[in-house]
Symmetry: C2
């Protein structure tokens, strides 16, 4: 008699769980996939992947980001520097209003609160992630309905990168000098640093002004909405504020 189907161990009875989308072969493959999602509602993509995205937005903050990752074949939540490591491309979903305009800042990556004295722009994680970004707008209409917009594969122009680098050095320099508590979200023209934690009680070790060890809230780097608005309007423009 026939042996049991050995492939059955890959199916765990999760009705609705679809097979993972394979990684894209190259940038044009990736961009093609992203374009094919344009116009689709978030709900329809979720159904196709066997996921559920509902409930108040406050309780589903990161869901759409993860959904688009999976729909495009990004490596799932790994420690990899980029969402598509072989392409060195970062994916960012960005909520936009009915006219396609970003209203929120965009998280880039965690900020170093210790070892900041050894952080340089050229070697920084911020630069690595921003060197190639696939922007996928999520259009939210007046009824709260969410739909994928036209994707943009972007790299900073030399002029744009100079400003980002300046902001980065400004922020990291103050941290390295022990003034981390003096760095708030007002520092930086397009790149800023803000708290990034589950709640206000989270603490991480850092270096204080007198070289002593202090406990402070974890921070993250964010792109101001002013900057992402400019990119989506005109990818090579040097926005106001430069």
């Amino acid at each position: 008699m026939a042996p049991p189907d050995s492939s059955s161990r890959f199916f765990h009875g999760l009705a609705g769980a679809a097979a993972p989308v394979p990684p894209p072969h190259d940038e044009s493959d990736l961009l093609g996939r992203a374009r094919s999602l344009a116009g689709c509602s978030v709900e329809s993509i979720a159904r196709r992947l066997g996921m559920v995205v509902d409930g108040h937005a406050s309780r589903t903050k990161g869901k759409v980001g993860v959904l688009i990752e999976r729909a495009l074949g990004a490596s799932a939540g790994s420690q990899a520097t980029w969402d598509f490591p072989s392409l060195r491309v970062e994916l960012k979903t960005i909520p936009v209003d009915p006219r396609g305009v970003p209203r929120e800042s965009t998280f880039v990556c965690a900020a170093p609160v210790i070892d900041a004295d050894r952080a340089e722009w050229a070697m920084s994680w911020v630069r690595a992630k921003l060197s190639r970004v696939l922007w996928v707008p999520i259009e939210i209409d007046v009824n709260g309905m969410r739909r994928v917009g036209n994707p943009l594969l972007w790299s900073p122009t030399a002029a744009q990168e100079r400003v980002l680098a300046d902001d980065f050095e400004d922020i990291v320099g103050r941290i390295g000098a022990g003034d981390i508590e003096a760095v708030n979200a007002r520092v930086g023209r397009w790149l800023q640093m803000r708290p990034k934690a589950a709640h206000g009680g989270v603490r991480r070790l850092a270096i204080g002004g007198d070289g002593e060890i202090i406990a402070t809230i974890p921070r993250g780097f964010y792109l101001r909405a002013r900057f992402t608005r400019s990119i989506l309007r005109d990818p090579v423009a040097l926005p106001e504020g430069a």
Copy 2:
């Protein structure tokens, strides 16, 4: 009208979830509690705490250990060195056959695969944990029914500790020399080192024979059943093999 009962936020609708048992005041308090559990079935203790311990043993390996921890007021799954930090006492549940004899080895703690060259018995985590242990036997009868046996609060005699220290130095010395892959479970009379991982694919960094970085499976220290059998029979005896 009366304000809502503010204590209600501590109850999350978990029918059966009992209040946590407070930490013991001292060793005699702890030992008294353990003695009061003797003779109780695992199921009856679980019911009392609002827990469920059932299913095949392969799928519930650590459940009884956690159950007894909670029943005795141990600090829950923290990074603390001991289960009862203020008493510096470690709790070990140990499965025994109907005659009270241990048949399995006992996990002690993770083994250092990196930095092993700086590990000394006097400062070791193994020694710290074994310096004071509350042994709680779990008697498994022929029907698979599990019942708590008579607890034993134990410290190694000087002669016992000498052997443990020798085994430790033997194992750690070989690791420090870069021979970690040469250390298998056959090394050590009462203390041994064996793999300790979720599955065979887990890897951790270590130092190879030529000082290079290698990836190896994580290890743990275990007490051989031969040794724990001796302790439960006669806590101060120097077992065979010394």
